[in-house]
């Protein structure tokens, strides 16, 4: 019978592995397998990405964006996750993709990977927390105060209520992240259960007490719904006119709708970024990467199917034209209003739907907390190798808490300033700008070299995550 190594022995092996990569154990290693999984699951956050972009998918392909698009994207993302899991097992360091690209191809590949990853990390922290602020204001603060804080101009043209709330929640997340990985790990575990319980309540109540579908859509038919031409935008020098979704070939429109699922499946590299704080990192990080996608896929699909089979009249979700003010504008991306999911929950569940929307807002806060943790590790790792201006300061670790305090602070501040800048430039479309930056940068850092470029000390020599058994 094979005896499992003790926790102390596992940590010793982790430290030895880290030494093998050339780094000292500066951060506090205490996270277990479930906590490692939890951080990626929290960042993927089916209650963030899938909620924010639900109307986007619906506009481009109708219900097929969920019914066909979600499982289709899942298959491919699982393939990516499996590849990344193997690399995370081979190189259990906070640098993650940056380190893998550097070792498997060259330092130059690593540098480019790191920068695209970093830009994506800044933007995803900003995007999640800006959305969380909007949801917290709309579902909790506004109900308490009876006002509309999101659009309140605190400093006209520069700062609105949503940005103020975002600043406050970022500050709270920053303090929690600096104070210790143990606290963040615990909150991430709470986040997992929070997500699952909210989804369970939505699914049970929508199926048991929800109202009949009034959309008139065929569930598996690709039906572009946007007819308003919201993609016409004049940049001044260039006027790019994309036209409404309904004017596109059906398959191309369906292709665009896949952003719903694909934007949701971001951030699962977080399990790799916290590898230096994970006990049994070679196994736990790998499983964290893979299982976070797998579990999100199943739970997310159940959640989305419940919503998609109980839609209200589509006119309440998509006004016929951009100028139509007689109908509630629920499409965040198309008309800068609320979010379709809130309208669907309210349609089906009334006041309970509003309460669940508040629950979704809290889930978004959890996602922001986890994304700041992962992004901080990425920035720390890159600055540890002097890859960024200010590295000397950024790589300094808090001696008291053993967390990358300076990197975390820089991330929170820049993410907030980035959003303020987006607000000043784009006013009501700040979330669109932030999302666009996120989606533009993040896939490029995934374009890392794999396989053929592996060096001699690459994954082929390292103990892989096992093919059976699970430590997560």
């Amino acid at each position: 019978m094979i005896q499992r190594p003790s926790r102390e022995d596992t940590i010793k092996q982790d430290v030895a592995d880290l030494h093998g990569l050339g780094y000292a154990q500066e951060l506090f290693r205490s996270m277990g397998g479930f906590s490692n999984f939890a951080i990626s699951f929290s960042i993927i956050s089916i209650l963030t990405g899938a909620v924010i972009l639900y109307d986007y998918g619906l506009a481009w392909a109708g219900t097929a964006a969920v019914m066909i698009g979600w499982p289709l994207v899942t298959v491919f993302v699982l393939a990516i996750a499996a590849s990344m899991a193997e690399l995370a097992s081979a190189y259990p360091t906070a640098g993650g993709l940056y380190y893998w690209a550097s070792k498997m191809k060259s330092k130059n590949w690593g540098w480019w990977t790191a920068w695209f990853n970093l830009i994506g990390q800044f933007a995803i922290v900003a995007g999640i927390d800006y959305a969380a602020a909007g949801f917290l204001n709309a579902t909790i603060l506004d109900r308490i105060t009876g006002g509309v804080f999101n659009t309140t101009e605190v400093i006209p043209g520069i700062l609105n209520g949503q940005l103020v709330t975002m600043g406050v929640i970022l500050l709270i997340q920053l303090v929690l992240n600096i104070v210790g990985i143990n606290l963040v790990a615990l909150l991430n575990q709470v986040s997992v259960w929070w997500h699952i319980v909210i989804v369970a309540i939505v699914v049970v109540f929508v199926f048991l007490t929800g109202k009949p579908d009034q959309s008139g859509l065929n569930l598996f038919q690709i039906q572009p719904l946007d007819t308003a031409g919201s993609w016409n935008n004049n940049l001044g020098l260039v006027n790019l006119q994309y036209g409404p979704a309904s004017s596109y070939p059906v398959l191309l429109a369906f292709f665009f709708s896949l952003l719903l699922a694909n934007w949701t499946y971001t951030g699962y590299d977080a399990s790799a970024h916290v590898a230096e704080e994970t006990v049994g990192a070679r196994m736990s990080s790998a499983w964290g990467v893979f299982l976070s996608v797998a579990v999100s896929a199943v739970v997310g699909y159940i959640f989305l199917v419940a919503l998609t089979t109980h839609l209200p009249d589509l006119r309440t979700l998509f006004p016929a034209t951009l100028d139509d003010t007689t109908l509630p504008a629920s499409s965040q991306y198309y008309f800068g209003g609320g979010v379709a999911v809130i309208a669907i929950l309210n349609y089906n569940l009334g006041q309970l739907g509003d309460v669940l929307s508040a629950g979704i807002a809290i889930a978004m806060w959890f996602a922001g907390l986890a994304s700041l943790a992962a992004a901080g590790r990425m920035l720390f790792a890159f600055s540890r190798d002097d890859g960024i201006p200010g590295s000397r300061w950024l790589k300094t670790v808090s001696h008291r808490y053993r967390t990358p305090a300076n990197s975390l602070t820089a991330l929170a501040v820049i993410a907030w300033l980035l959003t303020v800048a987006a607000f000043i430039v784009g006013t009501g479309t700040a979330i669109v700008i932030i999302t666009a930056i996120t989606t533009s940068a993040r896939p490029r850092r995934s374009g890392r070299p794999t396989g053929s470029g592996a060096s001699a000390d690459g994954p082929s020599r390292s103990p892989m995550w096992p093919s059976s058994g699970s430590s997560c």
Binding site: V15, A24, Y56, N108, N233, L259, A436
Partner: protein, 77 residues
């Protein structure tokens, strides 16, 4: 399969969500990064650094542990 989907994503994620921010942003970012890369990083960035030999790494960790103990922070990893 994974590589195929990464390529697909690079196309999919480059299309604007509802404004035309993606392309201008990407173009601007790449230009800035190219300037930074050829002006500094290509010649000076060394990639992942080895912080020291085994004994040096252990010594570094010991310093961290002492500092943490003095500050009442986390115990050794």
């Amino acid at each position: 399969m994974a590589v195929f989907w990464v390529v697909v994503l690079m196309v999919l994620f480059s299309f604007p969500t509802s404004g035309n921010i993606s392309w201008p942003f990407m173009a601007g970012t790449v230009v800035l990064l190219l300037l930074y890369y050829f002006g500094w990083a290509r010649s000076r960035f060394q990639g992942p650094k080895v912080m020291g030999m085994e004994a040096q790494l252990t010594e570094l960790e010991r310093e961290f542990e002492h500092a943490a103990e003095e500050l009442g922070g986390h115990a050794p990893a």
